[in-house]
Chain length 337, copies 2
Amino acid sequence: MTIAVPSALTTSRRQVEPALRAAVGELDEHTRLVCEYHFGWVHADGSPDGRTGKALRPALVLLAAAAAVDDAPAPFREAAAVELVHNFSLLHDDLMDDDTSRRHRPTAWTVFGRPAALLAGDALLALGTSVLVDPPAPHAADAVRMLGSATGRLIVGQAADLDFERRHDVGLGECLRMVEGKTAALLGCACGLGALAAGADPAVVSRLRTFGEELGMAFQLVDDLLGLWGDPATTGKPVLSDVRARKKTAPVVHALTSGTAAGERLHRLYQDPEQLVGDRAELAADLVRQAGSKEWAENECERRLTAALAQLPTGGRTGPAVDALTELAEFIVRRQW
Amino acid sequence: MTIAVPSALTTSRRQVEPALRAAVGELDEHTRLVCEYHFGWVHADGSPDGRTGKALRPALVLLAAAAAVDDAPAPFREAAAVELVHNFSLLHDDLMDDDTSRRHRPTAWTVFGRPAALLAGDALLALGTSVLVDPPAPHAADAVRMLGSATGRLIVGQAADLDFERRHDVGLGECLRMVEGKTAALLGCACGLGALAAGADPAVVSRLRTFGEELGMAFQLVDDLLGLWGDPATTGKPVLSDVRARKKTAPVVHALTSGTAAGERLHRLYQDPEQLVGDRAELAADLVRQAGSKEWAENECERRLTAALAQLPTGGRTGPAVDALTELAEFIVRRQW
């Protein structure tokens, strides 16, 4: 089943890209090239490349603003800020995880070297804050605080993710908290920042932030499911790369802690020092399914989506922005990539 | 000759450390341990260690505030913010440069691994901004903008430094611009932030910022000189490590571009793929001296110190804080570590 990409994704990407390119354009030549390559705007030699990311987070910022306050000016800089911080985390995660491929291309560090990719990530994190305060805006300090809090949680989530790779006793609760930090915090921040920039009441900001957090949980669970049963040709990630890296994703942890025979077998497979590739990786994925964890993750996704949508409409408001947020949320959960 | 450490350094370190520890204390357990080890507060196993850094930047923040406005509350959080960003850059620079020793100890990445050190640096950068806006302060957005600008320049400076390692044609002008970014920007920011937090006029903020920038240039030149002729037992850095890494520091670039016979020999030595260690490293340092570049760097230091001090007293003000800033500036230029 193919699902149409919501027009909000395409529109917001086109609308936010100028602010994003302007921010990256302030960097020194070399760091800029690394960032532009990472964003998919250029090839490694600097010649233009037509690729574009999903731009999910900018879309959430813009739609949340429109859903919160009628005729609010579109918060392009907040949208750019969230996308900059997201891409900082991707650049550094690829380094920490030794990932060699992202979005169907070699990762930046494999092309430009580790120091250049590290520095490019630093630059994007710093720019993410700078675009919020320059030029001055009335809500700038609040926006910096909200983005800073999400960045902090993102880092805690990544620390837990790294820690989990070494451990064999990860519980489902701590695994879901890791996902809250690593994915949900920034999606919640995207929606909250949009509402904040639009001048919404704190209660509306809070509702939209919760919407984004719940959606973020669903988003990551879909990601984990696609990492196990998605088509590498559409996801852009190597087949079963999460299993090969023995990642403790939520479906895997659910299976490991399920108390089922399949969970036990998976546990032995994950502890076995032999490489987890080929048939053994396929077996691991199948054991997750046998343990009932595919079904659990799919149900959990639906539950989170429902919880997210229950936050809409905001303050009794309806209209095209709320409809577009709903459409985007449903698309995220049903997507194949 | 031994020079007494100005009391402002000791005092401000003691005053700012609680804010610094509180900020680092917000991190997850593992990232916190890496940061606390890096700061010298604990050993690798988490047991207390009595080491302390120089805390030059916090001292500049506090003294600049006191020099700018009488009876201004001491800006501890701004001091902590600058120190956090400084230490972010140290953690990441050690990774990028593969440095194994700092402050007489193994660098964090050699103890905790590269991913953990990378993440710890990210966390310090994010905290540096967060402490400026939480809890809210009237000048917070301006402070974030000033710190963000310095961080951006710091990253550009580090990018240039990495680039210089690959190049044999670095000019003195671009080398000094690299130092402006990598060192002077954050020292200027320290002084500017202190004045800003104290509520000083923009002209006074600007003068103190210039004071810090000029002092920063002198500080880095002293660092470069100590890297060539300092005693490793007091500097805490391996002997001639800059030369061994073929770093294009300002004295080295001055020699390479001096048009002297010694400069020519140094050029051949730096281009020779053979390892630059032992006698060959000693020879390189001696060629810098023969080219007149030790003398040039010493004179340039004095010139920068004079330019810095010319910015004081600020707005015709004198008093103990201005005296302490002067004492600190002179100490920095005459220090042996």
